[in-house]
Symmetry: C2
Subunit: 345 residues, 2 copies
Amino acid sequence: MSGKAGIKDVARLAGVSVGTVSNVINNPELVSDDTRVRVRAAIEQLGYVRSETARQLRAGRSRIVAMLVLDLANPFFAEMAKGAERALRDVGLGVMVCNSAGSPAEETDYLSLFAEQRVRGVLVTPADTSGRSVELLRARGIPFVLVDRSLPADQGCSVSVDDVLGGAMAVRHLVSSGHRRIAYVGGPTHLAQVRDRFAGGLDAIRESGLADDALMSIDSDRTDVAAGRDAGARLLGMSPRPTAVFCANDLLALGMLQSLYAAGVRVPHDIALVGYDDIEFAAAAAVPLTSVRRPAARIGRTAAELLLAETDGNADDDHIHQRIVLRPELVVRDSSRSAALVVDR
Amino acid sequence: MSGKAGIKDVARLAGVSVGTVSNVINNPELVSDDTRVRVRAAIEQLGYVRSETARQLRAGRSRIVAMLVLDLANPFFAEMAKGAERALRDVGLGVMVCNSAGSPAEETDYLSLFAEQRVRGVLVTPADTSGRSVELLRARGIPFVLVDRSLPADQGCSVSVDDVLGGAMAVRHLVSSGHRRIAYVGGPTHLAQVRDRFAGGLDAIRESGLADDALMSIDSDRTDVAAGRDAGARLLGMSPRPTAVFCANDLLALGMLQSLYAAGVRVPHDIALVGYDDIEFAAAAAVPLTSVRRPAARIGRTAAELLLAETDGNADDDHIHQRIVLRPELVVRDSSRSAALVVDR
DNA sequence: ACGATCGAATGAAACGTTTCAATTGCGCGC
DNA sequence: GCGCGCAATTGAAACGTTTCATTCGATCGT
């Protein structure tokens, strides 16, 4: 009675044809009342579970949407995934959340997996910046929406946040607080997000009439808390020491905070700190973290909706791609408040 | 040339039979050199991607393992998922991470989805405590490993942490620091984890000769940061006010910390605080959080390995289930250090 | 009472693979 | 020159569904 029963077994037990069983499941209104009851009973008795696999084979596409993110352990992406998952479950689609860990190679692997699985579509935050991943998806005809990454509207849908603006907001805030030597802690430079935030920061520097080298870049190959600690160690060795640090995400900022704290450097008194994403834990940090907020759940949900719009376009491909760019928002907390301002509030 | 080409098209183009194409892909050594080259070229030219769907249909099972966790937004589970994912990817299996959000109903939905998908196996942290989920899996013959939840070894594999011990460690620590009125902030009581940690706490209370009501339970219906803040508000209204709080996880503890801080209650001076899980953000909190550490990634990895062992048992079902229980570890930080101890260090 | 109409059920094709028994061609030993 | 064995290839069945043209009865209008 375990998972071995097929539709044929049900049909035999109920004394009908397989077609009728299929109709009971998918088009109950086509079947007479008593037959329906009989078939339902047989299904129950055998513990029949229809094979989505076979179903897909016939239908040509699956009921699963894949989501590929840069780092599942980053609450920002976890939140984003949750947003997308909710929207997709609402329409009965399954979600497969995967983690490229920022590696283009892993990403390619996963995209192949998705292609083989004939997934309904893909929500992807590409680790590969060369556009190869997008090409791959297009070449294979897999519907996709880029998440947390922008794309010209003629090339596909995308939902992103204006990271150049976000970077500018962060640095503008620091400059206007009087800082003139600011460090930027980024992750792997092949990530567009990392580069954009720096570019925005540089814009802010220039518009203030400062020299480019007022913004010093500290590179890192990862974007997690440990990387933030490492970057902190390097920062402490710099001379002259920057008076403010802008981190490409909150994980880095939290690690940085730990490093600074351990070295007896006070935040914001000695060094001001600004993060990015405004994850839930930023507000609860040792020194509540100023951060550039991005609406994670909304990004995920919106991306899912775009994918659905593209996918459900059962009409004659009249779908037009959309490029949605959301605005980030600066949330100022203690980590970047000058003493005067703190008193001030 | 897009995702439309099937194995037949490849066969036709290469001038061979479909069986041969299949062999080129799966048993290259059976095919002569020149044929192999020709077929490979045809595959390349057509952009052929084999349909995992059809493959599965024939094979009867898929190459996907499902993982169902209580809360993807909780870094503990995210880390666990990462550990499992790594182990499974290493053997070429895909992972589908899903989020029951602690809801038994969602859980049932997902289990049905998994059954229909004929997944290779399931790693599940059950939200349903009644054992119905386990029964369901067994009835459908789906290999599974319980994660973060224990099970008698004759009923299936499980990897968990001794939460009763963990709860006891936390409360013992508080009691030995002199606390006599301790609040326990739990999540939904249908979660075994929540109950076990309380039970352990109660053990610790009793072994110290205190009355049961020295441990007061504050219930909550969720286990996130916001719920922690709510619980904080309720705690502040209690009188006499507890001198220590043990939270069922770090998210609750961080929320609690925010509430207390906002109300001007000092931690640990006025109230000591202990969390559970020791997520990465516990150490970076406003007041570094004492927490009961659980090895998230290791739990995930171990569970994946158990599932593989069960699944690969191509032999005659000689698999014996294992019940693995890991020991938690108390990590003491500032949030529970008495003033004397802080000076002391 | 007869064809038309309609609801209900059927049976077979199709989806894209893998697998396996059968076939083919070929060099070899005798 | 004959049968053998071997390597390479083939063709068809099977996996479990959905779909659709067809069949079967029965009811209906005239």
